[in-house]
Symmetry: C2
Subunit: 334 residues, 2 copies
């Protein structure tokens, strides 16, 4: 039985209804009936082939929540009817050093669901069972989808970079990623500052957990905060004044990038050296960290702020995301 989806048939084209045969379910896969799917800025980048790796027709969507309706012959830990979430990664080898050590997201063979495969703007998806992570009952299934991409993208570095509750942290950008980072870091116990170039978002940032909001376009405000932060998370994908952000760091501080900045990041060795600072970046997170994130979100009442669109209005939703860069996440629902 074919799957029903929305697909772009060429770079930048509007999505149109699209049917395809999924092929047989793999022994280690599950088939998920899609209940909702968040829209990530990466979907726009893939639709417009900004990264040069899109194969058309492209079925976007990688923030899926749905119900398992079939399990592969080798899957023992998931059951029919169980609610799971699926993010950008849909499979990994399960036997390399990285998979065996709990860092499946760093597997050389990790599959991006949209890289030659159909995503979640569809009625069903098939993915590696280890990458379909059960959704705790406490989490709202309509708003949970964005946790599986935007959420884990900002949560995993908090874990991996060893952010501590005693740290002073900054979040650059208050959009789909940033608005989740603020919530996680506030619940983590940190002193949290939001950096935004959109003053209108300041109130929202405080509501999401920011103790302080700094206008990222104001060099004097940035200079006044010099040497203050242990960890700054960059969630935007545009070039910044990198030296100014390194100067915001305390000794041993880390500037961590999760936005897909395409221009080279140029820094002075001395700017890193004097304070033993780091520049780093990371891709999403492992299934184990996804599960920890869901548990943490449930305990602390953390949820994406979402606006829903019916799947049939996917093009209107994509247009809103491209136009407004809203401080909430857009989610498609049936």
């Amino acid at each position: 039985m074919p799957f029903n989806a929305y697909a772009a048939t060429a770079a930048g084209a509007p999505l149109t209804p699209h049917q395809f045969e999924p092929g047989p379910l793999g022994a280690r896969q599950v088939q998920v009936r899609v209940e909702s799917c968040g829209i990530c800025h990466s979907d726009l980048s893939m639709i417009h082939n900004e990264w040069g790796m899109t194969q058309f027709p492209l079925v976007p969507g990688h923030e899926v929540v749905g119900i398992i309706e079939a399990v592969g012959s080798a899957v023992e830990h998931l059951a029919l009817g169980q609610r799971v979430g699926v993010g950008w990664f849909s499979g990994s080898c399960q036997h390399c050093h990285w998979c065996l050590s709990g860092h499946h997201n760093l597997c050389a063979g990790v599959e991006g669901i949209l890289i030659g495969r159909p995503g979640g703007f569809a009625d069903r998806v098939q993915v590696d069972a280890l990458w379909a992570v059960p959704l705790p009952a406490e989490l709202d299934p309509v708003s949970a989808g964005p946790l599986f991409c935007g959420g884990i993208t900002v949560f995993s570095p908090i874990v991996e970079c060893g952010v501590r509750p005693t740290d002073r942290v900054g979040v650059v950008g208050i959009g789909g990623l940033g608005h989740l980072a603020l919530q996680f870091l506030r619940a983590w116990g940190c002193e949290v500052t939001a950096f935004s170039s959109t003053p209108a978002k300041a109130e929202a940032a405080r509501a999401l957990g920011a103790h302080d909001v700094i206008d990222a376009r104001d060099p004097a405000a940035l200079a006044a905060a010099a040497g203050r932060y242990d960890f700054i998370l960059v969630t935007v994908n545009v070039p910044l004044d990198w030296e100014a952000y390194l100067a915001l760091l305390r000794p041993q501080g880390r500037l961590h990038v999760v936005g897909a900045v395409l221009e080279p990041i140029a820094v002075q060795a001395f700017s890193l050296l004097a304070g033993q600072k780091s520049l780093s970046a990371s891709p999403l997170g492992s299934p184990a960290t996804v599960a920890q994130m869901l548990d943490f979100a449930a305990r602390h009442g953390i949820a994406p702020r979402v606006k829903t669109y019916p799947f049939a209005e996917v093009n209107a939703a994509l247009a809103e995301l491209a136009r407004d860069r809203p401080a909430h996440r857009l989610v498609l629902t049936h």
Copy 2:
């Protein structure tokens, strides 16, 4: 009684005999009679005012080994006649977060011995007692001086970056710093590769502990080692093909710079992001780490390879360093 030293009176000038009054010994200082002093590339940089912060006359020298001949009134843990070493840092506040947490080298008030103060190309120096670290009896005093700058510069990041004996590591540059890094990392238990643009140094690199030597000028050799290293230590101060070195790293790998590279380091966010990689840098190390390094060096028979010059031939020694960038360290002795 004045101190007798060698000083540059202007940028790039040859060193000439120089006398100065040291002023009274501080309560927390010790006075060290200099037995030997290594020559670091930073001495050349300071003599030529490459960093724009040299005050003339400049007495270079920051790899001192000597004997304590006076202690300040508040110094209780060092005694007259004790042999100590002194590196680039000669004092810190001792009460800030960084001093209190054992990272004195990250203190905002940390003193560079050559920054407005006279260094070790002299018969005596006065420094903060905490920065005069006792030399274990097992270490040869003539060759130990370079441990206090070149040595700690490469040893501290091994500790701070959490390098593990199971790691595959690379050292870029086989000079005063690199030749010590190779010895430390071999003794640390790692698989060690030296990267050098000087094929004649390959044999020396192996003798110092490298399991493998890669010609840094050979793009094919670099490409063949892609994804191999957990940690690469850059000890040179010239621009590299940074993307090529990031590509050498495994997931979670770190490219760590201790050379004073003056040109901006430009990297692609994606080159860091896909493998959760880091770019970082660090300045020397804390007194506690210096003491650990000395103990580790004594246990493993690690020593700088040195060539000695009499203090009176300091200009010939500086000329050799500038001309040959030798794979050993030059040391001035009385």
